[in-house]
Each structure stands twice: as structure tokens, then as C-alpha cells.
Symmetry: D2
Subunit: 415 residues, 4 copies
């Protein structure tokens, strides 16, 4: 009898290593899939580990550029912010990885995809909704939701014991009392000691950004250039003839991460609402993402018509929810994304930002053409404006208010 | 013949001083009205100036507590942010002042209210819509929109010349090349050299907050307490037995302004959309307001149900537009405000924030009761959660996505 | 060993009769619960049937007034219409019944509630979300989702066979080739031959309303009176001294059902989106509900300020989704409902409607006080309106459009 | 001295005839512009009248196809309904006429456009905002807003007197005590005796549609075909081999108008909110438009994904306001229209409707491909659906509700 093939989203950590072994013991052939989306990982070592456990093969795919081009930067362009604060670093990575693993599954004619995401989290949803969208006939094995698995492995110690018994190498360094998710856009921290929303997080938790006390003493002023709402290049420092100009998007994000990190930019500590209905507390650091979002928001306000901006804002809030909840490949996200992109045709120009002491400060913005009309707004010249018109404008707007006052008075009298 | 009475919103500056004189020359009796909403002003001197010009009387009213209690803090509670960035410091002050001046007008049986707001700006609208709401039979004289006035006084030099001729005292210090609006919540800077959105603002423009280079070297960690979404007290420093606890709202705002100022908190430089349809560039500094808004946003995310939060967010974006555009006393603002307040019944608790180097960093939040359930979200205990349920949840959510995939395939085939 | 108690939502039909027997055979004590919400049902006969099958007890509760007062009429007041067409007759009944059955379960100290709703439908969701909201510690047995049950009973014939074997009386009349849900507000028809959205429904399917060919030959004109957006009385015919005035809400709905039925009012045939993500086709007839909704919409447009109306509309669309999806007792529905009710304080007055040939035609509306100002709107008198103001209003509104034209031209030139 | 050229939107009626004369007397050259958008008008006679009064030239342009193709049918496609009831027949015509008159003005190098719209109405706004968008440097003369004009002509009798004096022919038939606006899409009735919202409109007011008592005795069943949400053809009667198939859009609309008229379809009597802030009462009859809108709504619900439908609904409500208020050529309408059109790519298929006794009843709908999945929704076959999944779906959705119940209980205890 031939064994059925499972592609396992493998991280090299304890959980997915135990799942790998467990799947093999359940009589599956397992190919491990690792996406390099910029996390700090020794892929060679992880590869060897997977093979030593019994993986039939290990695929490592560099998706960094793909992730930046098709997920992170469109996220900036669309202005995606979940619940007013979170830039969706993890949520954006999930569909990107799903594309990679589904391609592998289809190519290898696998029947299953498996992952180590837990049953209370968002990532299982994002991962599986993406997989089912791209591969409707595919099947997912989620061990952490199978009683057979989760009743056997009730805590980390059960996994360690199993690992030891099955000769799975276990890291000597004790695990940090929280969990992280890392990619080139951000690192998230949650669970463990962070589960108490009233507990101040331990010092030294962050890895991409320095504490404010350790940041550089001199500000860095740069120019960020946008075309159709997408960041296309960065000039460091701003407005200098011999400045460094970075146009490769991977290099751009890496450089902004480094700069943002040196200046302590992009940390948040929030309570958020998971798609399953739980509230959870998370810490995020998103240096480059924060710089790009702040700059984009400024240029957009400069470029877009007021009423278009209102509609775009509505759509962007919707889209942030779609993405957070795992619906990147849904009809609604496809549609909303097209609408949002359409709004960005005229978001072109340059924003000058100062990065300093955790702050991303807008200093100036410009564009070769724009709805901004300096003459018209000027207090010193009329720019074709007739002040008398404002009187009519105000009086007509007051009509409805006076009617309301009349009505309130009438209501008072009739009481 | 009796002269008709005008109440003039008087600032003590060149514009309203000239308007005062001009109104008198137009045969009106003029009573000047000055609201103290926390701006840096020598009211005694302004009073004398007005009298010397010919004002029949000068009323100075301290509206600071009124402004904080009924406008600024409800603004925090409602989460009012215009175009994602501006906390509406000026917009909130206008209806407050209007209440004061209308009361005076009614008491003195005046027929007119006059003001020095210009024809391109928002303040004329906010001011007049408020006045007409509160006093529908009242009339407004807006000289800057009367051809007779604005054709005569085409620039600042015309005003200065008129002032000299009419013995109106003119400040010896040259005017700054921008205009400001100031109250206990914020200072705004616009016009003049700031009209070019690509021009980096001059150094030393800000008055309430220090430049980041000049800020304190040690962070300040404080607790902010909320009841029904309203900030009710501040404890400095956080979590200390003998900490200072401030419950008077004026003192609270003043203290947070001082703290925020020392740490360089609350500056923004934005392009915004005026109600008249112009885009303008403005700088704002809002130290206490920023601290309170950041803390409130955090507590709200912790306290509110996810779906209530979504609806509240929609309403709050609407309300911010109403307030910016001058519709504080409109039926829609009355209604929306009631709805927003209703959402805040359960926003109670304490937020611990660190104020440092321009940053307001959330460290922790707590509440005696909350929708946050640490056990339920825990990765270590089940908290009554059945992981198998997530499978069904995901599969049902995937139904629609699989149908969409089927449809796309079918569409492809039918091409 | 004591047997655990189940409260079964019992309809008297084949499905729940078999479930009753099946539960007893699974060693449960079963009390049947029947809510009278106006469906055409012989409760005495159903009672006897349940007892004969082995029910420990049968509770029949008259919830008609409760349903009308607390669900149907608030649905009119809130303007609840799902996907622009469906007045939510079934969706509104589910939470009402859930309150009744949960009360019974708590009183009898039952451990379980059971129902005969199927796995693809909305009603299982509405029913269980309501039950869990009201009784979080309660448990639900949904046989149609238990493999043990649904694999055994794969079609109607399996149920009939089981019924015969277990001496459960089976109706002699063959079942109609569709399923219905009935209450005092509406009857729905779906499934079976209706599943093909391209199939014209069979003649004579509707029960509450006559076909247009059979309707009365003379129109009926009535007055409907509203207080705070709630229908409080009906006068038949309109504007007659000795007209019949009905103030009892049950009588009011029954009368309007009869009238609407005679005139063929309130049928729709739609494809709708179920909460689970399926599209389904349904037919509904809602005579009284349609008349009341049409009248309410008219009065509301007359009474509410334009901008309040916009916000109310947004909230009402949200609320319709909440109710359809089963979230009547959710925090978001609680909140939204309060907001919607608040908007209705000024929706008072009388609407005159003509009911004829399937049409509900508005003829007139009036109110003792209103924002409608006949003088102001009159083409014959000025009513205090200054036409010159419109010029300023238009010119200022044109500002943004002219800027856009300028921008487009500039963009064209720069190409 | 050369006289400046005005293009006058001329109707042939008393108002614009007097305006024509008045403009000439004010020393303008006047060219009259008449758009044929399907109104019942003797253009030849109007032409002669204008010339006899002194018009330099009279342009009559047939815009019926233009109006149907680029305004009316896109209105159906976008689902534009103002305040839930009004299909915007007048609002859609205004931008269409504006394009025509602006083209004429540019071609003839006119400096001004003039019209007879009054100062309280919507049409002045729609007309002028369209003109300024298309011709920003153009100027508008609106006599009814010029004191010189409206103070002289205070009522209809002043106009008649002036007409007599100036030899302007005045119609012998007395004017109806209301005003109408007519085009191929609809006729509106307002003002005069209709200004009292409590007055039942006089009999025989409607012109396009028969009273229900006079309608045909047999229903008409037809098929309407849509491509990308646009009605492209009509088949009469439905589903017959030798049926009439109409694909020319003008013929299609005319036929549906006739059919709808015979069956009394498409009348409404509403109170609406004008852009200026007034409430007004209007009657509309829109036979073809109503049939097309009802059919489109049905097909759209069948074709669109649920969540796309929600977003489209939001955008369509916004767009209806933009169009009603006169912003057809605004940036927001341009943008929203593109988004709305994008949603319609998959709205293809046929709707079978019965037209009878004022009702447009949906009987069936079909499409060569669709998100509707008859197998999946079937109660008789599983269609790949696993009922157990619904349990997980419900339980996870209940999580948040149970937390809310826990919270309410906790709040109760803490009281």
C-alpha cells in the first residue's frame, strides 16, 4: 500500500518536529516546507533536523521579495491597519506562505497539507482559508485540533518527552516565556507572561528595535518616493546630492528596518480581537513598515480628494479585517483590493520624514501635480476665491440646523 | 436713533481691533467678548485696548473647565480624530466659545454677533453654524466676507495703516510669518511660510512642546483612570503608594500638558481637507490630548466587544467629520454623540503609559471586569475551549471561498 | 442512575417526532416545548402525539403577543430588511422561542436543549446562539449534525420507516415538495422544487395571501399611527368618524394580515445568502409586516433629519445582518438596537396607505410636529429663504470640483 | 461693443421664455439650448417661440440614447436608489443635459450658461456643479437667484404680465397646480397642492402609468437579460420561441415604459431630503426604470458573493447621494462608479418577471455560471457538506457571546 503524501509547514522548532515524527508514525510520507520570509533561522540546520527525523524531503523557498512586493508593500498602499494600530505583519505573511506550500503540494501531488498552528489562534484560520481558496480539493491535517494529538501532548513537557524518546534534537536553551512570529516585516510577541494584559512586558523582549534609551543621538532625515501609492525608493539622507538611493524593494525594507531599529521605531503593545472571538494581547515591532505607513498616510492625505479619501478609508478598514481574519484570497478581498488600488493612481510623490527616538515625523511632502492649490488656500492672495460665497455656503448649511432648532422649540412647546 | 448692538468675538489682535473700530464707525454699539479657553493672553491688557478703541463693554469669561469637561474630554471618549491624525483642538473650542457669546448676546439683547474669521477657513463655518443652532434668529456680521471690508483691507499693511490712523495700538514685535490658534488643548500653526507643503517648518515654531533633542532624559510612567470612557484621574508616577493623584480635570490636563511638553509629545504636520473643499497644511501640538487619546484607544480595545468596536469606529469617524465641519450642535452630532457615549459604559479601568522622547507607550492596562479572559486565551490551559470546534469554524468559513474557486474555474472553462 | 433531561423544541412533525423517540432511546428524559407564535397548528393533537411517543411532558406556550411586541414591531421600528428585501420573519421568531425554551430548561433544571434544525440552515445557528447567550452553561443536542443520527436517517423515507416501526403516527397527506416555516408575521417556503432558482414556483403555494387574480376589487385605505417609530394603532378605513380603531397589537397584526392577504400584499421570491455561506432560494409572504414596514419607512423619511437618517440607515443594515445571522442577543445587537431606538424618538405621526392589488401605496402622512416646513419649501412663498445664498453654496461646492478639473488638466499636460 | 453670448437652457415654458427676453434686454446675445431626453414636447413650436422672442439661435439635441446608455442604465447597474425609494430620474438627466449645453457653449465660445431653475431646488445645484466640472472657466447666470430678477417677478402673475407686455406667447390652458419634470425615464410631480405632505394627491395626476383600476386584466411575463449588470435585452413574453426580442436600448426602455404603464408600475409618493437641507414632497412614476431595477436587484443577489454585495451596497448608497446632490462628475463619483462597475463583472443572466397590477414580481432567474450551488444547498443531497462542521462554526461564534454573558454576570455581581 502506498503511503499518502503530506506537505508539512515546518519551522524547525519543537512543535513541528514532533508533528513531523507523529505524521510519519501515522503512516504518512512527509515533505517539509520552509518559507524564508526573512525570519532569523538557520535553514540548513533545520533541513538536516527534518531529514534526521524522517522527512522524505525538505523544501526551502526564499519568498522575501515575493512577500515584500505582493503583500507588505500593497499593505502599505492600501493603508491596512487592524483595529487602528496593528500593521498586520503576520496576517500578510500567511497567504504568501500558503501560495508556496500549495504550489509544492500540487507539484508533488500531495493529498494533505499540515501545520503546527494551535486551535485558539488566528494563523490556523489564515493558513487554511488560503489553502482552501487556492486548492479547494486539498485537505488539511491540523494536529493541534485532533483529540488524538492534543490529548496526548497536553503541554510542552509532553512534547519534550516525546522528542527525547524519538531522538528528535531539542534545543538546549530554555524557551522564552512567550511565543514569537518573525518575518522581514515584523516580529510579534504573545502568550506566556504576556497573557496578563496588566503585566508590563519584560525588558529586552524586542529584537528588531532598540529601547529608546539606546537609540541613536542624531536624527536621520530621509525621502520616501511613492508611485501609485507604492513605496518605490528611498533616499538617505533627504535632499542631498550624493545621497544613497535604494530602489530594490528588499534592500529598501532591510535598510528601513535597520534605520528604524537604530531609532527604536515601530513598537506597539495592544489587546486585539482574534477572529475566533477571543481577545488577546500582543506586542509587535514593525520598523520599516511603520515608517512606510506613516509616510504613505501623509502623501495620501495630500493627494486624494476629500470624498475619495472617505470612501477609501471605509474600504481600507474593511480590507484590514479581511486580511486579519485570513480572507486574503476571498471574493471580497479581491474586489476591495481592486477598488483600493484604483484610488491610488494619483498618490505619487515624495515624503520627507525624520526618524528619531522612536518617532517618525513628517517634515514635508511634494508631488509634481496635486489637488493642493497653494494660491487658493493662501491667506495673502485670493487665488480666485470669492469670500461672499462662503456666506451663502454657511447660510444654506445652517438651514437644516435652524429647522432643527425650530423643531426642538416646537417639541418643547407641545410637551 | 438707537444704535444696534453687536457682540464681537474679540482676540486683542490687529484684525479684531480694526473690526471693532470699523463696526463702531458703521454706527454699531459693540461689546467685546473674550473667552479664556487657556490661550496665552493678557486679558487685562486686551480689555483696556478694546475699551480704548471704543468698546461699550468687554466681557472676559473663563471657559477652561467648561471646554475641558464638555468638549475636550468627550472628544477623547468619543475617539475623535480627523482624517486619522488631527485631534480637533480648534474644532472643539469653537462650539464652546459660541455658547458663551450667544449667552451674552441673548442677555444683552444684541442683534448681531461679529467675528474676525476669514472667508477661506473652517472657523467662520464652525462659529456661525454653532451660533445659528443656538440662536436661529441671530445675525452674524463677518467683515472678512463683506466686499466693503475686504476690498478696503487687502493685506496686513492696510490694517496697520488703518490702526495707526485710528490710534489703535499695534504690537511692536513683528508678526510671526504664520498664524496660530491656541487653547488649553492645543496650538495650531498654519498659513504664511507653512502654506508650501514641501517646506520644512522653521525651527522653534512650537510653543507647548520641546524639540526631541531638548526633552527629558528619563521616562515618566503614569496611570490614567477612565470611567465610562472619560479620563477621570491621573496618577504620577504609576503604581506608587505616595504618587500624586490628580482628579480635577483642569489640573489633569495642565499637568499632562506639562509632562507631554517636557517629553516632546503630540506634534503633527499634516495636509488636511477643509470643509470648504480646500486642502491646507497645518501643524498642531496637543500634548495632553495625545496622551489621553492614546490611552483611551488602548483601554477601549481592551474593553469593547469586537463588533461593537467596529460600529463605534464607524460612528466616531462620522462624528469627527461633523465636529471638524462645525456641526457640533446639529441633529446628527447630537444623535451620534448619544450613540458613542452609550458604547462607553463599559470602558472603565486604568492604563499605564510611559511618556518619553515624543512617544506615548502603552505598558499595561487593567479593569475590574472585562471581556478579556486570560484563561480562555491562554496557550497553556484550555479554559473551556474545544480545539475541534475551530475545524468546523474554518471549514464553514471556507465554504464560500471554495464556491468562489469553483466559480472562477467554471468561468475560466466557459471562456 | 437518573436520566438526564432534554427540552426538545417540538413541532409535531415527522422530524421532531422521530428525534423525540430517538432521544428517549438514547436514555434521555424528554420534555417537549412548543411555542405558539401564530403558526397554523393543532397544539392539542401535537401534545397527544408527543405524549404517545413518550415525552415526559409537553409545554405549549402562547408567545404571540411577546413575539409581536418585542420582535416583530421593533423590527419595523428599526427598519430591518435583509439584503434589501426580506423582512426577517423567521429570524425574528427564533430568539423569541429561545427565550421560552431556555426559561423552561432552567426551571426544569434540564441539562440539554434539542432541536430538529438541519446542518445547512440558518435556524440551527439562530437557535443555538440565542440559547448560548441566555444560558451559557447549557448544552445543545442537534441530531441532524450527529453522524450517528444523520447517517442513519439519510432521507425522509428512513424517518417514515423508523416512525412506522416505533409506532409514531405519520400524516396520511403526502408532504408538499418544499418546506415551510410559519408564524404570525410570515410564512417562508424553501427547499425541494424551489431549490432550482430558475424554476417558477408552483401555483397555489402561498397560504396567507391571495393570488393577484383573486384579490378584492376595491382598494382599502387605512391610517397607521406610530409612536417613537412603533406602530401603535390602525384605523380602518382612513379618516372616517366611525372607523374601526385597533390598538391591541395582536389584533392589529391579525387584521393587517387579513387585509393584506385579501389584497395579495407582501410576497417575495428571492435568492439570499445564508450565514454559513450558501446561497439559497426562498419565498416569503409577510402581509402585515409589509404594510407596516412601508408605512414606517415613509414616516421616518418625513420625520428624521437627513443626516440622522443616513446614520440610522447604516445601523439598520448592520442590525438586519445581526438578526439574520442569529446574533439578536449579542453585544453588537444590544448596542445597535439602543442606537436605533434612540433615532426613533421623533418618529411620531400617521401614515395613510392604500392597500390594493398587491400594492401598499402611500397617500399621505402627517405629524403634530416635524422637520418638514411647508412654507420653507414652498415655490410660492419665500419662507425666510434667500435665494442668493444658494449661489454661494453652489460656488463653494464647486470649488473642489474645479480643483479636480484643474488637476485632471494638469495630469493630461504632464503626460 | 460686442454683446456677450449666453446659452440658455430653454424649455419653451413661461419661465425660460421670460428669462430669454430678460437676458436680451440685459444686452446679451442668447442661444437657446433644448435637450430632447424623451419629454413630451413640441420642439418645433418651442423653437419658433424662442426665435420670435429674440433668440439668436435655437439648438435642439436628441439625447435620448445618450441619456439611456450613459445615465439611466448605469443607474440600474449601480443600483442607485435615493433614500431607499427614488430611482433618481431627474438627477440622472441633469449631468446628461449639462454635457450637451457645455459642448454648445464651448463650440459657440459663449461666456455664460443660464437656466430657469429656482433657488430652493436641487436642479440648480446639479446643473451648475456639472457645468463647473466640465467647464471650470464658465459662468452661470441664474436669474431666479438674482435679486434684480426675483424681486421683480415675485409670482407667476408677474411673469404673465411681463410676457403679455413683451409679446411672449402664453399658453391658454391654465397651468396645473403642481410642477413636473419629464424624461424618458420618469415624470416627477411636486410643489403647489403637493406641498402639503398630508394632502392626498389629486386623481389623474400621473401621465405615464394607469391607475390600478384601469390596468390590464392579464399579467405580462417577460425575460430581462443582463450583461455585467447592464440590461441588454428584453424578451416578451418570456420563454416563447417566437417572442419579441428587443436589443436596442431606446426601444427597450420605451417598450418597458409602455408595458409598465399599462400595468400601473412604478409610482411613488415620498418626502425626500433636498441637498440644500429642505424636506420636500414628490411624486414620481418610473415604469421601465422600476422594472429594470427590480430585476437587477434580483440577479445581483443571485450572482454576487455575500461580502462583495455588502460592500457594493455601501458604495451604491453613497453613489445615490452623490448623484442626487449633483456630483455626477466629481472625483468621488468617478471613483465610486468605477468600483461599482467592477462589482458587476459577474452579474450576467436572465430574470423572469411578471408585470401585473402595479407589481413587478420576480418568478425566476438563471445564469450560465453562478455562485449558487443547487447541490450544496439541497436538503436532499449532501453536496459535499459535513453537518458536523456547523457545530464547530456555531460553537466558535458562541464564544464571544458566552464571554459577553460572563461579563454581564460579573458586572451584575460587582454592582
Amino acid at each position: 500500500m502506498t503511503r499518502e503524501l503530506v506537505i508539512l509547514a515546518y519551522s524547525g522548532g519543537l512543535d513541528t518536529s514532533c508533528i513531523l515524527k507523529w505524521l510519519i508514525q501515522k503512516n504518512y510520507d512527509v515533505v517539509c516546507y520552509m518559507a524564508d520570509i526573512g525570519q532569523d533561522e538557520d535553514f540548513e540546520k533545520a533541513k538536516q533536523k527534518a531529514r534526521s527525523i524522517g522527512a522524505k524531503d525538505v523544501i526551502v523557498e526564499d519568498l522575501r521579495e515575493e512577500f515584500i512586493k505582493n503583500y507588505m508593500l500593497p499593505g502599505v498602499q492600501m493603508g491596512l491597519v487592524y483595529e487602528s494600530r496593528y500593521y498586520l505583519g503576520t496576517s500578510l505573511a500567511r497567504p504568501c506562505i500558503s501560495v508556496g506550500i500549495v504550489k509544492a503540494a500540487k507539484k508533488l501531488k500531495a493529498k494533505y497539507i499540515s501545520h503546527g498552528a494551535t486551535g485558539k489562534g488566528n494563523d490556523q484560520v489564515r493558513f487554511e482559508l488560503s489553502v482552501y481558496s487556492l486548492w479547494p480539493e486539498g485537505k488539511v491535517i491540523a494536529p493541534w485540533r485532533l483529540p488524538e494529538f492534543f490529548e496526548r501532548f497536553q503541554g510542552r513537557s509532553d512534547l519534550i518527552e516525546y522528542a527525547k524518546k524519538e531522538n528528535i534534537p531539542v534545543s538546549a536553551t530554555p524557551k522564552e516565556p512567550w511565543s514569537t512570529d518573525e518575518n522581514i516585516m515584523h516580529i510579534s510577541y504573545e502568550s506566556g507572561v504576556l497573557e496578563d494584559p496588566a503585566a508590563i512586558p519584560p525588558a529586552k523582549i524586542y529584537k528588531m528595535t532598540r529601547d529608546l534609551q539606546q537609540t541613536e543621538d542624531y536624527p536621520c532625515v530621509i525621502d520616501i518616493n511613492f508611485e501609485k501609492g507604492l513605496p518605490v525608493s528611498v533616499q538617505i539622507p533627504s535632499n542631498q546630492e550624493k545621497a544613497l538611493v535604494i530602489t530594490n524593494v528588499v534592500a529598501m525594507v532591510e535598510t528601513l528596518n535597520k534605520l528604524g531599529g537604530q531609532h527604536g521605531v515601530g513598537r506597539i503593545d495592544i489587546v486585539e480581537n482574534r477572529f475566533l472571538g477571543l481577545k488577546s494581547r500582543g506586542l509587535y515591532e514593525t520598523p520599516a513598515g511603520t515608517i512606510l505607513h506613516v509616510a504613505h498616510l501623509d502623501l495620501e492625505a495630500y493627494a486624494l480628494d476629500r470624498e475619495v479619501q472617505r470612501i477609501k478609508k471605509y474600504l481600507q478598514d474593511k480590507m484590514a479585517d479581511f486580511v486579519y481574519n485570513g480572507f486574503w484570497f476571498s471574493p471580497e478581498a479581491n474586489y476591495t483590493r481592486k477598488c483600493l488600488e484604483q484610488s491610488q493612481d494619483i498618490v505619487n510623490g515624495t515624503v520627507t520624514v525624520q526618524i528619531f527616538k522612536g518617532n517618525v515625523t513628517i517634515l514635508a511632502r511634494k508631488s509634481s501635480k496635486s489637488l493642493y492649490n497653494q494660491e487658493l488656500v493662501s491667506m495673502d492672495v485670493s487665488g480666485g476665491f470669492s469670500p461672499e460665497d462662503s456666506t451663502g455656503f454657511i447660510n444654506i448649511n445652517a438651514l437644516r440646523l435652524k429647522e432643527y432648532a425650530r423643531f426642538l422649540k416646537q417639541s418643547e412647546l407641545n410637551k
